[in-house]
Symmetry: C2
Subunit: 236 residues, 2 copies
């Protein structure tokens, strides 16, 4: 299996490329609109065919490249059945996508947003904003719910084997990965905390809104491909 | 073996943590001064003992954390015999450092600077600024020499097995790794280019000096631990 982690420094977003080294079939998780040429070039250089683009949720901090990549490559866009209407493959908890020898297991992990899913592929889990390195995504917009996030983290992700490698959608401190064992011990929001205390903590974060919220969410509901007319209508 | 890639966003520097999972002995490659608390905290959380700090060269774009880490942990600082006088273990081409089950092979790869070395550990090679993803370090200061860099890249690094994973000291486009096979095909400076053409290309880059050059080089000659008096004297 081929694995690459990619970074968008403006939004601190991690994009992941995985592929079957034999069939050369590839998928991208959480690609960023501004990096589409970089990612297409890498696919070409590595002689890979993009089959799937997986978003972990409707992002509020960057615009997805999913729709653009679909236009350019014919790849199918995969995301939660609770998310963007533009998605081709609307997945549910327990679904398994096959890509060559790869198996992508869908884990619904709502709470940061109601459509948040994680993707488990072999020993790795891609957690979006549900579980970050030593942290967890905020829950104060897009139908976020701190109680649901606590249940997703402790009831779904922390039940994975301890040595599962955790790859988040973002990091702001230069970490590239973690493990389930580490997060169970050291996650500053969820480790050693009861549900009620977690909900209280998340309710008191008082964070400013993401800079791109009003641009990114409507764009991402259209998989990042939206005409100027469409952009204005969700704000009206 | 435990492996972690870490990033300093201000200088776009990658730091690498490797450890023997059984003995818990660890090494850090190219740690950054400003990230010393993050890195010490991660070592503690992962229950690791830092034995070695390896610098690939005397950096000009950030201050090394080597000296600070030596003070805080007793780790020994490793770098080229051609580099900083503060180093504890001055290595030569072909030297092998043992750390538990890990074997660190030293490859002298001068050209970006005259003291540049790469470290090969298992299937990975840590190339400093000699070989970057699709690029190569500049050669216009610190005794840089484009001809030597060409020889290091094509005569040393490109002789490694094709599937060797390449981990550079920097990336500015969100790439986290490459492979020898890819760089032999797609490196924009060294692939499919003769020595003379490479020297000409590197001589015409016309880059501005690194922002931290006058601060970082004298500091790094003292392993990043330098008093205010010392800082001023190399500039006098």
């Amino acid at each position: 299996m081929l694995f690459r982690q990619l970074f968008d420094s403006e939004s601190s977003t991690y994009t992941y490329l995985l592929a079957d080294g034999r069939t050369r079939q590839a998928l991208l998780i959480d690609p960023v609109h501004e990096q589409v040429e970089r990612d297409l070039n890498l696919l070409k250089e590595l002689d890979l065919t993009l089959e799937y683009v997986l978003d972990t949720h409707v992002h509020a901090d960057h615009v997805t490249a999913a729709g653009l990549l679909r236009q350019r490559t014919g790849a199918r866009v995969v995301a939660s059945h609770r998310g963007a209407p533009c998605v081709d493959v609307k997945v549910h908890h327990g679904d398994v996508l096959a890509l060559g020898a790869l198996r992508v297991e869908v884990l619904e992990t709502p709470g940061h947003t109601d459509d948040s899913v994680s993707y488990r592929i072999g020993k790795r889990v891609f957690t979006g904003d549900a579980l970050l390195v030593r942290s967890a995504g905020r829950t104060d917009f897009q139908n976020g719910d701190a109680g649901h996030l606590f249940d997703s983290i402790t009831g779904v992700l922390f039940k994975l084997p301890d040595d599962t490698e955790v790859y988040p959608a973002h990091d702001y401190n230069g970490h590239t990965q973690s493990s389930i064992a580490e997060e169970k011990r050291y996650n500053t929001r969820a480790a050693h905390r009861e549900r009620e205390a977690f909900v209280q903590l998340m309710g008191n974060l008082n964070l400013p809104p993401p800079k791109k919220l009003n641009e990114a969410v409507p764009a991402n509901l259209a998989c990042g491909v939206i005409s100027p007319t469409q952009t204005s209508s969700p704000q009206a």
